[in-house]
Amino acid sequence: MRATGQSGDWVGIVDSGVGEALEATRHFRVQADLRQEITLERLSAFEALLRSLLAVQPPLTEVEINGSVEALLSEQALSAEAHRAGETRVSVLLATTAILETLRVGYEIAMNGEVVS
């Protein structure tokens, strides 16, 4: 996945995806806390979601840092794209943290034999 030169609003798309990932994670976390519908398949699915979030972090960081350096060299303000990439990067980080924490709870349940089929 390339961070720069993408057609369309790449950062915006990532941003929307992060919001949806957080919503899904929140839902999963509630179910985990209530010991509902924790299956191995769902754990695996959330691992995949985690990987997709991890994959967008480096390109976002690159856009942000490149924008920062460009702003430095050209003595211009940080571009809107770089600014948004920075915000989205932080959102991705938060979502990553949330999923990891939720996975931890999910695996704890599975380890205790509470997983349902």
């Binding site: 191995l40 840092i65 943290t97 939720t102 695996y107 599975a110 034999g113 997983v115």
Partner: protein, 415 residues
Amino acid sequence: MSIRIKMGAGESYLENKQIEARLDALGIKLNPDRTIDESSAANLAGGLDAVKALAQDGVITADALSQLRRQVGFLGQITGKSLPISEKQTNAWRALGMELTGTAGTLTGITAEIRRAGSINNSQFHRAGERLEALEKRLGDLSVTEPSQLQLAQVAPDALQAVATGAKALSAAVSEYQQTLSLFRSAMVDKLAEAHGPKYRLETGKDGSHQIHERPGWFTRVQINAIGGSLLSALEGLPTWAKVGRLLSEPIGSESAFARSAPAATKPKLDLGAAVDQAPGRKAIAEIEKALGSDPMIFPGSVGRAFEKRMPEQRQALFRAVLDAAAGDLVAKKLVSNSYGQIHEVSQVPKHSDPNASVPRPIFRGALEKTLKGLATVLDALPAKPTAAEVEAKASQMIDEAHYAPAIAALYRSM
């Protein structure tokens, strides 16, 4: 660094003197060797205008102009006086660049090991953890996540570039490492599901009755250790990753060290002797807390509305009283940024964000509460009628004490 002023061919003595006088009038004195440097400029902002004019006249080259603009931009607008590049600061940032690159290399090596061997172990987690700890220590030593304007102004640009390169490499390496750990867990789970089938099994007895058999826990002790260790290792790296991500994003080109569009001298001077009224700030905090209710997750739209629409006067009073009037935008944004986990600046919901957008961007209650608590603490720690200088000092102290990791921890708790 000095810049030679090139004189046109065939330039007369009179023209020469005119240029010198023009520079002199704007605060720049030409050195005997026809160069200008930091010590030449008594008034760098005025000097910059002079040099621009000279460039337009074709007297100096574009490269020389670019160099001087950088010099003036770095130094003049930050300090208002000349400030040389510091070898010590530059070396510290170069070392950080090397540390970032080294950590990226270590993580890449561990990732390759895991992929090659198809297994994970505690030794790998420890190595990753130790390397990240060393990086964290250097980040802490340098205070690079909250670099002072003075520090950054003294760092040579190539060192900043090295840090940028290292940060990008580390970001990619951490991502790869964590993805590999995740793949490992997924593979384990897939195998388990395939081998053991569903958790509950229905058996039909000879008499036609049905019995539900529950299987014991899915994972063996070794598998539990592998999963637990990989999750822990992944979580441990996140705060450092977050710091690396914001290494250059905040100071450069934003509103802090390298913003050069408006010299500080043009901003209204703060009246540090004036008393600050705390009541509007306290009222705003109470109203915001009330507006948020008990929902564990809040959205920027609601925050934006709370700040921008429901209580605009109180909001303005809050920031005027606690932050803006005392310490300026920089303090306000840094305090909020620290407490907020760098999600949004309370004082400025990003313009591109539509509060009514169909896909909200969640932020967490814990982070906002931390912000509010921070603001309230500033107020609590002050005397009844503090001066703006006292507010500024307290706010600065809090900023120094703030750390990104606790913000992340607060976010963990808020989930």
